[in-house]
């Protein structure tokens, strides 16, 4: 027993101890825990509810699509053509390729002059207009047209040489009319009136005025929709989730 702890063996043992320690440290370093889920029950429940809503919407869409499919299958050829044409018309309306008339409002973006001598003529920029369009969509606008340019899903709003272009044509100088069709005019109006966007407009020396109208006419989108880069997605196999 006396001979066990000779200097010779102790040194080797020490080296082994060091190796063990290094390995353990390296192991600890590489095994840092991943970012933990720190949401509490309430947050998780809210997230779950949102997901469920999304799921419900998807189910609804599937049900509608299946209904259309069954309709197609049950009809005669002539009826099929008619319902196909109806579908096409419906889709064209959805895409904004038809003129649309409805109850809505006209929002006029107009300049305000605080000091006529020192102030240059106010203008808006594309970014602000984009923000405004987003705000309109968020407050429940169904269809929007800026000037005589219909806003569809792919409508670009750009700054070109200091002018704002919508659908590749200039909206000109202020004032500009924005035509909107919406289901709930009152709610929409309240939403816009208290919106932060008014402050942003005020920064540019611009104000908006809203007037309701029984009959608002929105022009159709007359450009070509470029579907070159649009491809049919992979259709999942039956049974795949």
């Amino acid at each position: 027993m006396k001979n066990v702890f000779t200097k010779h063996k102790l040194m080797i043992g020490l080296v082994c101890l060091l190796i063990g320690f290094m390995v353990a440290t390296l192991f600890n370093t590489n095994k840092q825990p991943d970012s933990r889920d720190t949401r509490d029950t309430w947050e998780i429940r809210t997230a779950l509810q949102e997901e469920q809503k999304v799921q419900q919407n998807l189910y609804q869409e599937i049900a509608e699509a299946e209904k259309t499919l069954i309709e197609y299958q049950e009809q005669t050829e002539h009826q099929q053509i008619i319902s196909l044409k109806e579908s096409i018309q419906e889709l064209r309306e959805k895409a904004g390729l038809t003129e649309i008339v409805g109850k809505g409002m006209i929002i006029t973006i107009e300049p305000i002059f605080l000091n006529e001598e020192l102030q240059e003529y106010p203008s808006i920029n594309a970014e602000l207009l984009q923000l405004f369009i987003n705000e309109l969509n968020a407050s429940g606008a169904n269809e929007i047209a800026i000037g005589n340019q219909r806003i569809i899903n792919i409508s670009p709003i750009r700054d070109v040489n200091g002018k704002v272009y919508v659908n590749n044509s200039s909206i000109g100088n202020l004032p500009t009319d924005i035509h909107i069709i919406t289901k709930d005019i009152e709610k929409f109006r309240d939403y816009i009136e208290v919106s932060e966007i008014n402050d942003y407009f005020a920064l540019e020396n611009v104000t908006i005025s809203i007037r309701e109208q029984e009959k608002v006419v929105l022009p159709k989108y007359d450009g070509a929709i470029n579907l070159q880069e649009v491809h049919v997605g992979d259709i999942p196999e039956v049974g795949e989730s």
């Binding site: 063996k9 080797i12 043992g13 080296v15 290094m22 390995v23 353990a24 390296l26 370093t29």
Partner: protein, 127 residues
């Protein structure tokens, strides 16, 4: 033979119990150092089995290899060359060589042990 293993175990326990971890950017150096240490350890075992073990060589080899590997990795980071790969390659190859030699030496010893046992058995039977 038992004592180093015991110390290795103590070292591992110590490391795990203190729950020490180093910053992510230095873990590269440590991994190289660990590889160098393992290489030295297996080299030492091999030398022991070859009966050529020299403590001075072992101790100095351990510290020198570890620090050189870390230095090489550091230099690599500074120069933008993945020099630590060189260290990994060199130590890795040597590690496997040493392991192979250790295996052979152990097998030789085992055969020798078996042979002598057999001989002993035969001789006892004759007697």
């Amino acid at each position: 033979m038992l004592l180093p293993a015991l110390f290795l175990l103590i070292g591992l326990l110590l490391g795990f119990m203190t729950n020490l971890s180093i910053p992510e950017e230095y873990s590269n150096y440590l991994s190289i150092a660990v590889l160098a240490a393992l290489d030295t350890l297996f080299g030492g075992i091999r030398a022991q089995l070859d009966s050529k073990f020299d403590q001075q060589v072992f101790i100095s080899g351990f510290f020198f290899n570890v620090s050189l590997a870390a230095l090489l990795a550091f230099l690599g980071v500074q120069l933008g060359i993945d020099l630590y790969l060189a260290a990994i390659f060199a130590f890795g190859v040597r590690l496997f060589q040493n392991l192979a030699i250790i295996r052979r030496l152990l097998l030789d010893k085992y055969y020798l042990f078996k042979k002598t046992k057999k001989n002993n058995d035969i001789s006892t039977k004759i007697n």
